[in-house]
Each structure stands twice: as C-alpha cells, then as structure tokens.
Symmetry: C2
Subunit: 192 residues, 2 copies
C-alpha cells in the first residue's frame, strides 16, 4: 500500500492534499470520465496504490477535489429509496437543508460561482452532473433525461435566488414552506 | 432642452453614452430606488433636462445602463395581458425566445455572470428585479410574492442550464418542447 518505488514519494502528512491538487488538475484537463487514478498518481508523483489508499472511488476523489458539498453516492440512494410519490418532498428538503449548513453552503456557492464564470470548470462540472447524477436518476426512474435537468434547474435557481441574489421573501422563507411550494414541481418532473 | 448653464456641458455625440456611464455609477452607489435623474445629471455634469431628453424613464435608463436584454415596461403588459390560464405558456415562450437571439443572450448572460460574482451588482439587480418586476407581477395577479420568485428561479435555472452549463439534452431542446414541460410549473406558481 505504501511500497516505495524509485522516484515516487511515500505517503506524508500532506500527500492526501497533494493528490487532491493533482486530481483537480487531471479532472480539469481530461474531464471526469477520462481522468484515471493512474494519471492522477502520475501528476502527484505517487504510487497509484497510495491514491486508492486515500480515496475509495473516483467519484469520492472528485467530490473532494471540487469541494462538492455532498457525495452523489450517498445522495442518490437517499433520494431513490423510499416511496416514489414522495420523491419531490425528499429531494427539495434534502437540498434546502444542505444549504442551511454554513460549511456546505459556502463550498457549494464557491463552486457555483466558479462554474458560472470559468469555461474549464463548466466542462468538468457538466460531465459530472449529467453522468454521475442527472442521467442516473432519469434512468433509474425511467423518465426522459430532460426532466431531471428541469428539476435541477428549478433547485439551482432557488439556491441562487435564496443565497446569492437573496431575493425576499425567498431568502428568509422557512424550509417547510418551500417544500410545500416546490415539491409538486419536482415530483411532476420526476414521476410525470 | 439643450440650454447651457455655467459648468454644464451641452449635448454632444457621446453625451448619451456619458449619461449611461453616470447612471451605472449612480445605480451602483444608491440602488435603483434612491438613484435620481438629478443625481445622474450631476454625475454626468449635464442638465437634468438633457437626461430626460435621452431617456423617458428611470426604468428605461436602468435597462440600458445595465444592458438588460428587455425592458420590463414592455415585458409586463405582454405577459399580463391575454388569458390568465395561458400566462405560463406566454412567459416561458417569451423568455426562451429572447435567449434564442444572439445579442439579447450575450448581454443577459454577461449580466447574470456579473451578478453571480459581484456583490455590488447583486444589490442593484435584486432591487430592480423585485420592485420593478417580481413584486409587480405578484401584486397584479394577486398571488404571494414568493411565487413569482419561484417562477423566476425556474426560468433562471433553465437559462443557466441551457446556455451556461449547456446540459444536454436541455441545451439543444426545441422551444416548443420546453414550453410544454415548463408552462405547467410557471402556471401553477402564478395562478395557484
């Protein structure tokens, strides 16, 4: 796991951080799908086994490298399991609650701002959002992909209106009130 | 109309442009509501009558100063007149069609990007969006203000997903298909 090879540095206090820096670079250059653990290890000058030691999956590494507030591998089961007729309520509540936490909100808003203004971030964000999240939900629910994108668009607009534009009364509204108003929209997109 | 006063410059080829520069500054400093034609004239070192000569209303001046793709004073009647039960369809089609035109889209996307990343733009954009557009529509339709903000959030997210993130199939979808999918959402928010 920590076997040394010539020219490869062993695990150190900040190896994990260095792997994340390398991962960010590799994801930006190659996109999510084409980036490989081997390539990231090469960028970081460490053994691929060391990358696997720190990060179980490429998705997990991407989540940390891009400072996503949530890992879709935890998010998806929470949304997809449970009654289908309440998927709208679950999804709206989960996203609004996530953005109510300072740390998650700060990192997510930073990502949103960078994606909106940086062509390189857009590409890797788009690929990840669609392949890892939106297309999977659509396929799992058996609905056209455009419907999960419209649900995403609704929630993206709500987050921007609430936390970046700070439109009132939206910015100060209680999560419960927003769930009542938004859940039927998301439900209709996701279950037709 | 073009009467000279000491220290005031008369209308010249680029007076209109200079008034817009001054307006942008005044709006950023004071916000939309508190900015005055008198203050803008002072910033531009011209007579207030000259400002009125070039711009009929403060809204019109704001629209040009902020390079908004559309004047709410034309937009609002188009949306509010006509059958109430088709307001969702009219609004969705109008916004998507607007963003299908290169010039409008470019200026609107520039504004969106600047608002997302610039605290000063946010304030003046928020005040204008709510007071001149969203609150007026809510009051006119007799629905709670948060509902017009959720409709705005849906369309804002669609525009970002389609033109900035360029999620497929959303980015390539026909306007007609999007009207079918989105109109019921907007209709529900606006007419309950």
């Amino acid at each position: 796991m920590t076997a040394r090879r010539p020219g490869r540095r062993p695990g150190s206090a900040d190896t994990r951080g260095e792997i994340l820096v390398a991962a960010r670079k590799e994801f930006a250059e190659k996109g999510f799908d084409k980036a490989t653990v081997r390539g990231i290890a090469r960028q970081a000058s460490v053994d691929p086994a060391l990358v696997h030691h720190y990060f179980d999956t490429k998705v997990g590494m991407f989540v940390e490298a891009m400072r996503l507030p949530i890992n879709p591998e935890t998010f998806l089961p929470t949304i997809l399991e449970g009654p289908r007729e309440e998927i709208g309520r679950r999804l709206v509540r989960m996203i609004l609650t996530l953005f109510a936490e300072d740390a998650s909100r700060q990192s997510a808003l930073g990502l949103i701002r960078s994606v909106m203004t940086n062509e390189e971030s857009v590409g890797v964000f788009r690929e990840f959002m669609t392949n890892v999240l939106l297309y999977r939900v659509a396929d799992e629910l058996g609905v056209p992909r455009i419907r999960t994108e419209l649900a995403f668009a609704q929630m993206f607009g709500v987050i921007v209106g609430r936390h970046i534009l700070r439109l009132e009364p939206l910015a100060s509204a209680e999560v419960d009130e927003l769930v009542e108003l938004l859940a039927p929209t998301i439900q209709r997109y996701l279950t037709g």
